[in-house]
Amino acid sequence: MSTAFEYSPDADRIMSVSLGPQHPGAGHFRIRLWLDGDLVVKADPDPGYVHRGEEKMSEYRNYIQNVPHLERPVILDSSGILFAYSLAVDQLMGNKIPPRAEYLRVIMAELNRIISHEYYLGILGLFVGQTTMITWCMGDRDLFIDLGARIAGARVTFAYIIPGGVRNDMPEGLQVQAFETLDWFDKRMDEYEKIFFKNPLWEERSKGVGVLSREDAIKLGATGTVLRASGVAHDIRKAEPYGAYPEFDFAVASLKEGDCWARGYVALQEMRESVKILRQAFKNIPPGPVRLKLGPQPRVPAGEVYARTEAAHGEMSYFIVSDGSPKPYRLKLGVPSFKNMRVIPHLLKGIHIADIPPVYWGLNYWPVEADH
């Protein structure tokens, strides 16, 4: 806002308001809003309230010690962020991962995708006032956390996918509980669709709101459900297949409209596809070892690598430079929420205040991850 504006008759019409960092609707993130009555004139994101310096810290720890703190930026989807890290380190070291470990990695990654999307849909419902969605989604999410906890040992901090494979094998008899949960969950997702996505109130509030065109989505670097809801069927699991994904039969969900309703519905479709992948994985998992013996301080040959995967929030990429020592020389985290952050000021401009929650949370933006 220039000084000439301050003395114009319109100066006092624009009010600047801070949304966050303590706000039920924003999490640990602040958006500076300039409001003209009920309309947003300009929005400026102000991240950094949870900037914990992951990249600097990873230069002080070796490749195995990096695993626990690198999974914390997006703890909802801890396997998604670790999958990309393990891919990068395995490529640097030239590790050949055993097939059972590849299947287990996919199982955990898809379980985490469902866990993350459940949280996303639950809070999306809560932000527009439908508390049924949050109680249902938080409760159903616990069933999948149970499955993950039986495999990995902890509730949310799985730390399961590590360079060299996975940490341990899954317990015997897990398939029984898994298939029960998946069968029940299929019907449950139809209920989500009935009470939320076909709900006339949600349709009123979200159809045509916060439309992101296809060109803007590509130009601004959007990833994940935001990109796929704008008519771009781009999923790293299909575009640049990694791990055991080529062996699974699933589709990429995408819609053309690019509004809030489409972004939520794409997430629901992704959960359906994840259930399909999980069924195939649990049925066809081959026997064998699950971990390469790397030792506590694996030495990684000098070089650099750029690896990317499709985490729940979008495309997760790692750029690792190694100088031959046990600690990385440079680890650059490319987190999907940071990539999607550029869309926030673009979409919030010109909308009503009441539309801010569905638009903002609809981008599946996790402030902790964007701040890494």
Partner: protein
């Protein structure tokens, strides 16, 4: 509570008033304190201050499986002027620290603080980061520490139960 020995010796009326004061305080004060504490400990409303990973476990604790609401811990999404509990979940960075102090100051008395997670107790996993406070008890007084990384939802509820115990036995009407 005023001890009977502190009553000045100038006149028996003062002694009588002192004794009546004692009787009244035993008769009314203790039940009054009990009622006030009972009301406070079963309606702890936390400020919605989401932080990092621990907020996911608080979300699970408020969800339908662990259901913190049956203990009165209701995530009231109103203003923080109506809240009396602040659960500092997770890492507090140097950018957030002044805001945390501001939020704590804006809450009306009585107020309690639960430090949840290793990051808010000692800095936790991020002890060597350039942007992380090593524990929040340098800036705000903490009542209950709930360790864990993140603590399970049941641990958080146990922390709330400990806080409720503390409130139940508090002797001043200010609550602290």
């Amino acid at each position: 509570m005023v001890e009977a020995a502190q009553v000045p010796k100038t006149g028996e009326v003062n002694v009588l008033v002192g004794k009546v004061n004692e009787i009244l305080q035993d008769a009314i004060g203790a039940p009054l304190r009990y009622i006030v504490n009972w009301g406070r400990l079963y309606s702890l409303w936390p400020v919605h201050l989401e932080t990092a990973c621990c907020s996911v476990e608080v979300g699970a604790a408020s969800g339908s499986r662990f259901d913190a609401e049956r203990f009165g811990v209701l995530e009231a999404f109103g203003s923080l002027r109506q809240c009396d509990l602040i659960i500092v979940m997770g890492t507090v960075t140097r950018k957030l620290a002044p805001r945390l102090k501001l939020i704590y100051d804006q809450m009306p008395e009585p107020k309690w603080v639960i430090a949840m997670g290793a990051c808010s107790i000692t800095g936790g996993l991020y002890f060597d980061s350039y942007n992380v406070l090593r524990g929040i008890d340098d800036i705000i007084p903490v009542d209950v520490y709930v360790p864990g990384c993140p603590p399970r939802a049941e641990s958080l509820i146990q922390g709330v139960a400990l806080l409720q115990d503390k409130i139940r036995h508090s002797t001043s009407l200010r609550g602290t």
